[in-house]
Symmetry: C2
Subunit: 879 residues, 2 copies
């Protein structure tokens, strides 16, 4: 049997989107439930595909089916296509399954020619008929014959000038006739043939134009970027015209069934009387608010209200509607689920639950984690008109304005004085943290989504843009070249961390809000999710914030950030440069009180909840000055004859030691538990600090749950030895203090070998935590500090990779290792607690993977905790 | 039933090593086959374990069994333990399953006391009896009572002085009586009690002493280092004495049934007449060559010859024998497989096959790959007495002497002049290659077994020591401090790459030989192995050498080494620093002829065999000067006011570009196919060079099989795109030249993700080659350039890891990924060719793994090809 290419509206429903397109399916659905829809039919997207496959030929049977349906339409309308007495006019509109710009839009009033116009005029008024005819030629010329809109507008403009009127509807019959004549002339000049006057030819050409537009370059690019399959095709909707321009009791409008910005439950939209659809968007006349319709055409307003209610009842969601009123009677031309702001999405979802329309589960499906994220950060006012200087990677959401500073010390100094500054660097390093803390935001020319600046800024909830390669930063001159401009320290810029845009000057902001409805949604999420949500927090302040956002503990507390603080760094450097174990122990002894007070604060902030503390992880040379800089300093001191001096000796000595510690690939070097095994005194000090802090809090009546995490384990022996060391200190401290602290020691799985040997590692572990940042680096062989600036961006642009594996967990590769790790670990220890503490712990798709893989919890930066709570719930609902 | 702790020699065989120890098992075996072995019994190693487990108590039943066996021994010998008329004397010797220094050795003549001595004297001569008694007290005092040997020797020395004689056997009865009296005095003084005169107590104490010695510190350390299990235990052999010191027709000796140095089929050993066992090793009298025995005691010599023949027939191997002749009658005290030099091992194995004693397969089992390796390199003469300055990691075998040079340019200059130089550097870099080529060997203070210097030197078959941290190198002053000495350029040192020793001055060498027998063994290996053996070769010379060593093709040709040559580097740098694709294509165009001639040479040398060419792999900044050095240069130029100059501008520019290209973790950076995807023109040039060279050779009638290998693939898309690029060039060149070249494109699996996604990658690959160097780095998260110097050595010392994963493939972790790669690749493409081209391809244990895992071939440096051939055969035999 031949494929059925044409469906009458009565034959479809909202579930037929693939064949009928979104618009066609919803027209069918509205027809099915008895709403006032002008009759019509849909030519399927399948037909479009066949047409394009056949080299722009209609497939066999298609035209016959169309004329059969036109005939049926004539029958029902009591009018005939091309009938000079009582002509049928139709609208032709495209409609793919997915809404897509770049496609052919709409042709109204199709079926008109000088003869049918007169027939229409005889029945409905001549001026009205001329107006329709003028509109038809213009739209058809533009969208079917590909003529510039402006060519028609010029003629119209001249006519208004000549007539001395302001609006088109003030033009008289004669003027319209003249305009039509000139329109027909320019069409003939443009196309080389007379305007097609046969309604059948008009319809055929219009359908072709819709099909062709599926293959136009703009549509193709859009599909590629948005990963829409090319063989989706578009449907064509042919519908009997109703006329919003028929009389003063006529009009046309669009509306949302609720306010799409705030979510408030009121009709929200606008309309024009005596107008056709395109007038509302054309902007020549200012539309009126929908509420005014109540006074203008009260009966129509009542119908609109009723239909809106009916549609919400039917679709159980806020709808975006197009309608036309013909002589006081309402007709529905389109309905679809309305786009809405993050704030509205949350409020509408909660309200719909309150109204008993949807379940809590459905509400959780309706709000995306990205919308919750938006609610948590300041944003750039959409109305801001500032010049966009450049665009980088949106590394940490939120917006900030401030004066440019080029180094962390200056950022700190000005920040302390209450100045708003934006720290601009080629990249940041751990010893810039004091400056980042006091800056409004960070902007770097290098690095990727998981570079140092990005991670630190996200952790602090501070706006950050990285990898903004258009910036040419000259640190020596304290200058910044971008897009032909030269900026200096003190010039003001703004950054939008949500989009990666850098603005000149100060931009207007929109403040964040996580109001009562959001809290409600998150409460429902907590009831629904199975995954725990913990936070990555290095300070008591972070821990406090995380707790406020709903974190159920700290999944990763990085002790090295504590080492970087200005008052400790000199002691840390002494420790590193110690020549003997005794010297090292001495320096460590001086670090102990600092560390103890760090842990005291965090454990206190997380009273009653687990705090997972990772022992020292980064290579030691990260705490020393840069070798290149030192080398230059030493060479210059020597050049200046300073060789005998104390300064030279000290610097030369430091250079030698920094060189000895420097590494070719620090990421794969002497760090993590490798440090702890070679210098056990470091981990001993840290373990002591943890248990002493815990003991102190216990005496003060505070319930504590410290968990010690050993980083970078790749072999069971490493964990076995580290665990023994921690346990020994634990026993000592218990002996000294009389406290009874639960001993929990676990490890991060962050190199492939750890995942492969998880079964051998598990016996020594109370918990596993996947460090998916490093695991991604080692599984791919990508250095995150290098890859994004050097090749990853291109890989993503050219679709070598579908997604940035540092942003979204790579399920195909890294995911296998995670799955091994969980399965093998639990095979020997079924009660093993397993979590994730990489950046992926706050990313919705990755969270869904963690849920499916049976992890116990995810851990992410405090500002992502609400997102993770929602994502975890949505993952549970997908099960 | 109680454990049987005591076995008469007649009850055992050579297969009972675990229970009876090596010595006991062989005594039993010789007894079993009717050789003249003095009767005796063995106390099992199981008894030793029980004893130590019980806290140094004999397990129940042990003593009873011993006395039962002693009684049986008395019965057979017709003598009785402690019988003043006809006393039984025994020897007591330890013997574990594995030969082990540090264990208690031997007590002879046990059973003597003043009374039994007189009985012995009455039957065999009083002086002889006194001599035996003196020996017994001394040995018992030393090894059972833990007294210093020197305490006895002093008394003996004084007695000889007093008597005015030179040798012990010249001492008279009276002197011996006096010595014995003084011996007994010092024993009593030392132990606080009289010497135990009861033979039963003597035996009990001696057995205890053997058991105790299993737990002495030296034995424990030895076991730990050699990975011998602690619960192996040692057996104790108790045997009726025969007396080599009885008469002039008596003697004792050791011999090898063949020459253990050369393998020649002649008896090789030495003996002493009128002596007991310890005299031969004591070195007071010079033993005679075994051949002299023919004249001394012809009948005994005939017996020795016959027994040697019998033992070889029985054990089918060269034997190391201990024997005693008592009054012209031969007794066997020990036999074991004889230790032999590499040269002898090969000759003996081949000869035994020739003699029909063993099969070719057995010969292959008898020769180790390490022995073949020894035959391939010059070695340090074992007699060399030069001062050892330091010890580093033995990175590439062979020995070299030469003058110290501290930079590659100087090495090249002096090398070209015919000077022998050793290049000494903190580490080497790719641009040192021209110097390494002309140096005799390389010595570095940093780096590990797979650092740059190690790999390059092994590839060239040049001696190399790396990670020799005792060296303090001052490149500025061209000085080297080591072990208190100050060496300068031009001082001569020698290095032994097989052991890692650095010598002062020039050492005597032993030249390598891979003679006819070795070639024979390798031919048999080729008949036996299933794995192919290919070579890693970057030059025609390497390829030629590899072919001579038996390589079946080139498994890895690294194109970057070609880029490093002095005449090409400037063009390569131009290519890298090109601002536009056009500039880059221009530089590449000039590189094309160089590359084409490289490939021409290698393909020609490997006529008829496959040549796997890996496209450019390392990060581009490896071809640029060091950023730190440049930075200092630029700072100094500026300081000296050279800012306006051309030189400054050029250098500052270069610095800026080198910085932009520099990476935090180059190993995980912008390299491999990532380069080829972002700059396709580079791979295009290389592919063109390969196919043009192949076409030229085809025209010349040379059969060529180039295979193109894409490095560092982690995603199927990468290989798909690269393959398309290579195929396009292939088609172009075929079109231009008319040649028909088979197109083979494969990839290296060298990041974990590639192994995990092997099933998706295989459809685009004609072959896989595991790059296990990088795969080890990424699986462990170890940078090979950093790990060995920084923590891996300690990890190995402290047994955190059992083996260096860069030397021996880590089967537990990396091996899983290899197994995945093979299985998943072959699941979708059963005919997929799979090999390995990391350093592990030349390491025997790793080769065995490759065999078991079903790989098609291994590829290794030319000098390891023979080793790989043998190892592959042995792996096949293990199946």
């Amino acid at each position: 049997m031949a494929e059925k290419y044409v469906y009458r509206f009565e034959e479809g429903s909202k579930d037929d989107r693939a064949r009928l397109g979104g618009k066609g399916a919803n027209l069918a659905e509205m027809t099915r439930v008895g709403l006032p829809v002008p009759p019509g039919f849909t030519v399927t997207a399948t037909a479009c595909n066949a047409y394009n496959r056949l080299g722009r030929e209609f497939p066999a049977g298609l035209e016959d089916d169309v004329w059969k349906e036109v005939a049926a339409l004539e029958e029902r309308a009591g009018k005939r296509f091309g009938d000079p007495q009582n002509p049928l006019l139709v609208s032709v509109r495209s409609g793919a399954a997915v809404s897509m710009p770049g496609m052919m839009d709409t042709v109204l009033n199709l079926g008109l020619n000088p003869k049918t116009r007169e027939g229409l005029g005889a029945r409905a008024g001549r001026r009205f008929a001329l107006d329709c005819h003028r509109r038809f030629i213009q739209m058809f010329g533009n969208v079917v014959l590909h003529m510039e809109h402006s060519a028609f507008e010029e003629i119209l403009y001249a006519a208004r000038e000549q007539a001395g009127v302001k609006h088109d509807h003030q033009l008289g019959e004669q003027e319209l006739e003249e305009i039509i004549a000139r329109y027909l002339q320019i069409v003939e000049r443009h196309t080389g043939r007379a305007f097609p006057e046969d309604p059948k030819e008009q319809l055929t050409l219009a359908v072709r134009a819709v099909f062709d537009s599926w293959e136009n370059p703009r549509a193709k690019v859009y599909r590629r970027i948005n990963q829409i399959p090319d063989d989706l095709g578009t449907a064509v909707n042919v519908q009997a015209m109703v006329f919003g321009n028929l009389s003063p009791q006529s009009g046309t409008g669009v509306l949302f069934t609720r306010n799409p910005n705030t979510g408030e439950h009121v009709l929200y939209g606008e309309y024009l009387t005596q107008a056709q659809g395109e007038d509302v968007v054309a902007g020549i006349r200012t539309p009126k608010e929908i509420a005014v319709l109540k006074d203008d055409i009260p009966a129509a307003y009542a119908q609109v209200e009723k239909v809106a209610q009916l549609l919400e009842d039917h679709y159980q969601d806020m709808q975006d509607i197009e309608f036309t009123i013909e002589d006081g009677r309402l007709y529905m031309l389109q309905t679809r689920s309305g786009k809405r702001s993050a704030r509205a999405a949350v409020k509408i979802a909660v309200d719909l639950v309150g109204e008993g329309r949807i379940s809590k589960q459905e509400a959780l499906r309706r709000v995306t984690p990205e919308q919750v994220d938006q609610l948590l950060h300041r944003g750039v006012d959409p109305a801001a008109q500032n010049e966009v200087l450049a665009k980088g990677l949106p590394a940490s959401p939120g917006a900030a304005s401030g004066r440019i500073v080029f180094d962390a010390d200056m950022a700190e100094r000005l920040g302390r004085m209450g100045e708003k500054v934006v720290l601009v660097r080629p990249e940041t390093a751990p010893d810039d943290i004091h400056g980042i803390v006091l800056a409004q935001g960070v902007l770097t020319s290098r690095g990727g989504m998981t570079c140092h600046a990005a991670i630190v800024a996200r952790g602090m909830g501070k706006p950050c843009i990285v990898g903004c390669e258009a910036l040419k930063i000259d640190l020596g001159r304290k200058e910044l070249q971008v897009g032909g401009r030269n900026l200096r320290e003190d010039d003001t810029i703004s950054i939008d961390g949500a989009t990666g845009r850098v603005f000149l000057g100060e931009v207007a902001m929109v403040e964040p809000e996580l109001g009562g409805e959001a809290a409600e949604i998150l409460r429902w999420a907590d009831e629904t999710r199975r995954l725990g949500v913990m936070a990555n927090a290095d300070t008591p302040e972070d821990a406090q914030k995380a707790r406020e956002f709903g974190a159920q503990g700290v999944g990763l507390c990085r002790t090295e950030h504590m080492f970087m603080q200005q008052d400790r760094l000199p002691v840390v450097q002494e420790m590193i440069l110690a020549a003997t174990e005794a010297e090292r122990r001495d320096a460590l002894g001086r670090l102990l009180p600092f560390q103890e007070s760090d842990f005291y604060g965090i454990l206190r902030a997380m009273e009653g909840l687990p705090v997972t503390i990772r022992l020292l992880d980064p290579p030691l040379h990260e705490f020393l000055p840069d070798v290149e800089e030192l080398s230059v300093e030493v060479a210059l001191l020597k050049e200046r004859g300073g060789q005998g001096g104390e300064d030279y000796r000290r610097k030369a000595d430091l250079l030698r030691q920094a060189r000895a510690l420097s590494e070719f690939n620090p990421m794969l070097g002497f760090r993590g538990c490798r440090l702890g095994l070679i210098y056990p005194e470091i981990y001993e000090m840290q373990a002591r600090a943890i248990f002493q802090a815990a003991a102190r809090l216990q005496r003060e009546g505070v319930e504590v749950h410290p968990e010690v995490m050993i980083p970078l384990v790749g072999d069971p022996k490493e964990l076995e030895i580290s665990r023994r060391l921690v346990a020994a200190v634990h026993q000592e401290v218990q002996g000294e203090t009389g406290a009874r602290i639960p001993l929990k020691v676990g490890t991060m799985l962050e190199v492939p070998r750890a995942c492969l040997l998880a079964g051998e590692i598990a016996p020594h572990a109370d918990f596993f935590s996947f460090g998916t940042n490093d695991l991604t680096q080692t599984t791919f062989g990508y250095s995150r500090d290098d890859a994004e600036g050097k090749f990853l961006t291109r890989y993503l642009e050219e679709k070598v990779l579908e997604e940035n594996p540092f942003a979204v967990l790579d399920q195909a590769g890294v995911g296998q290792l995670v799955t091994f790790g969980v399965a093998r670990g639990r095979a020997v220890k079924p009660e093993l607690k397993v979590g994730i503490c990489g950046e992926h712990g706050g990313e919705p798709k990755s969270i869904a993977f963690c849920h499916r893989t049976g992890l116990n919890y995810v851990s992410c930066s405090p500002y992502r905790v609400p997102i993770a709570r929602l994502a975890a719930a949505r993952a549970a609902l997908e099960d």
